[in-house]
Symmetry: C2
Subunit: 452 residues, 2 copies
Amino acid sequence: MAASPSEYELTLQIIQSLKEGKKRGFQEIMDELQPYDMAQQYQHLPAKHRNKFLLYLNIAQLKEMMKELNKEDQLEVLQKLGIEKSTKVLDLMENDDLTTLLSDLEPEQIEELLSEMKQEESDMVQHMMNYPPETAGRLMNNRFVWISKHYTVREAVDKLKDFAELAEYLNYLYVIDEEKKLVGVVSYKDLLLGEMQDKIEDIMFTRVVKVDVHTDQEEVAKMISRYDFISIPVIEGDDKLMGVITVDDIIDVVIQEANEDIEKLSASGKAIDFNTKPFVAAYRRLPWLILLLLIGLVSGSIIDGFSDTLQSAVALAFFMPMIAGMTGNTGTQSLAVVVRGLVSQDLDIKQVMKLIFRELWVGIIIGLSCAFLISIIAFIWQGSFTLGVVVGSSLLITLIIGTLAGTIIPLVLYKFNIDPAVASGPLITTINDIFSLLVYFGIASIFISKLS
Amino acid sequence: MAASPSEYELTLQIIQSLKEGKKRGFQEIMDELQPYDMAQQYQHLPAKHRNKFLLYLNIAQLKEMMKELNKEDQLEVLQKLGIEKSTKVLDLMENDDLTTLLSDLEPEQIEELLSEMKQEESDMVQHMMNYPPETAGRLMNNRFVWISKHYTVREAVDKLKDFAELAEYLNYLYVIDEEKKLVGVVSYKDLLLGEMQDKIEDIMFTRVVKVDVHTDQEEVAKMISRYDFISIPVIEGDDKLMGVITVDDIIDVVIQEANEDIEKLSASGKAIDFNTKPFVAAYRRLPWLILLLLIGLVSGSIIDGFSDTLQSAVALAFFMPMIAGMTGNTGTQSLAVVVRGLVSQDLDIKQVMKLIFRELWVGIIIGLSCAFLISIIAFIWQGSFTLGVVVGSSLLITLIIGTLAGTIIPLVLYKFNIDPAVASGPLITTINDIFSLLVYFGIASIFISKLS
């Protein structure tokens, strides 16, 4: 908030200092900026000033700014910095940021960058990139403080001081044994409140909540938000401490996962944002649309099958879009409730049955209300009591079917470990179209004698 | 992860210790549990053991567990604890958790609870409840450490130690002047690395990123995730420090906001989760459905208007659901892209125009592809070239309209500070139904002579 008003004049000051070559003045401005603000400034800067801007930043600042830039700018910066300076920056960057940066690059580019880096750093990054995407192994970083269980509080505090610069957050110290196995955790508070000569193994908290390198990032997010942790340790095999995942990365995960749910629910295709090019966006959206188009034709052939019924009572066509639409809408509603419910809750069979019966009831209540309303409208509008009955009863049945379809389909997918959100709103809608037309014309043909 | 396997046997151990009245053994188990796990255990516990469970917990543990319980259980616990013990717990609870707990209660219940609490605590809570919901004022807590700018590093460290127990996170100390105005921030790292006799005002970071008590929680979440903060200070009026918002609360906000977007996008009505009762859920979903039902009838009357056209060429009806459906689907896709895009990005007019043109292009590309496909299908299926042209050209036009409607409607709402997500998928779908039918039958009537 407070940062934003002065943003524009800041840009002016920066350009000023760059033009006049006042490195000192430039540094004074930077000292007061958050990494995100630096990145904003860099991105707003006219191209001609960018090189000098980078030249004036020190390595630490460059590293901080890097992780706030989007991928394109990150690569631009690396390339402008030249191989020597850029590897210094990469060495400093957190491994998780580095992994994300590299993950989309060509193998040879990755090779080139890593080859220049400190052996230990590049090993860690290469190791992390072997874990599947969206797992804990990809999110973890090694900027944390570990201590041996044999330490005293004093030794722990000293080590904490030495590593303060490097560690991302100081809230917890993770305790390991001789084989680097995670055996406990000590909060910084415990150190403050403990006696200097206390042994760590006596004051440490041994029931450590941890995740495995292969744990899905959505699961990790669930745990961090449940336990209100700042960071959570990541282990591999039998409790070997590999790294930590920090809450700032988890926030990004939560946003990303929510976006993915919405992308799928709306069948809008993966990763389309404001900057996606038209052809790319269209290309990503088309597969779904073509599938839906073909399914949509099924409804067509159903109507084709009932064309005599329709011919003899064209009024039936008036209510077709409404019935189909309503069935789709109620299905979408149920779907959304299920998909989002699964984000914060794990389901056992008991809850599943409870949920299905709940939705059945919802379908019945909604169905009765809407059916009652529409049959009166149909009667008044078309003056045919029979039509009212046909439309009303059809709507009642289709709404119940629609609600259940919207509930059961995602639950079945979930059961088979398929992301329930792939049962997108449009898909449910299109499937429900078919149900509704079958029911509608089925009922209509029964009463056809009275309708025509 | 590691915590979960033993959960069941834990429950058994707990019941054991409760039955045998082994308070010591019970405490040993609790000492190792996270608040969330305690809450889980309490909820899984057979009703008959719950009273003793609460009796055996000390105030601190009760307070920790409380904030992890859902509202119903929280009230059950308070009531079981009795007014004296429960007020002790409330006094300890973080104000933000307290505010959330109270916000849904009846005024007299709130009155009763607050009246028993420490004056200072209850004042703070009452003050917070005056801020509008979903603002920073409702989220902030007062469990933070503030220091005067005149302190030395040593004085700051001492104060930090005294308050370690109370403060939620120790990462930052907020610096205030004589009038309690926020003038700077010092990270705990700075203290570790500074000299003991350094003056705080010399080492503090003066360009503090802060939010106002009235800032929308979504905005707060945006800032915390941008700056990777653990907490952000909340000010009122001219920089008076009121409290801090911590990252753990922000994760809940991010999840909540995402759910709200999906609820609206799917018109599934506010706050329906797995535990909502059928009638409540139905009641919350009905308003939208009835509105959509009425709009749906408009499509009906359009068809009514074109009934002669339809009568003379029933084949037109076959493609009706597909065309209407496709227009709705593409609209939903565009809508989702816009709504989620706005979560992470602020838009200026330049980007808006860029976005609209992008979607226009997407519409054209998608339209041409689908139109080409469908006209061939229509021709083969119905053997009428004219029908192919009619269906194809209609689909082309409606898909372009649908895409633009799905883009422009939410943007207009956003411009007028209405949450763009209220333009729900179902609404866009239903509106697009109407467009598509007008276009479809409009074009059809031009060619009617050739169709029938």
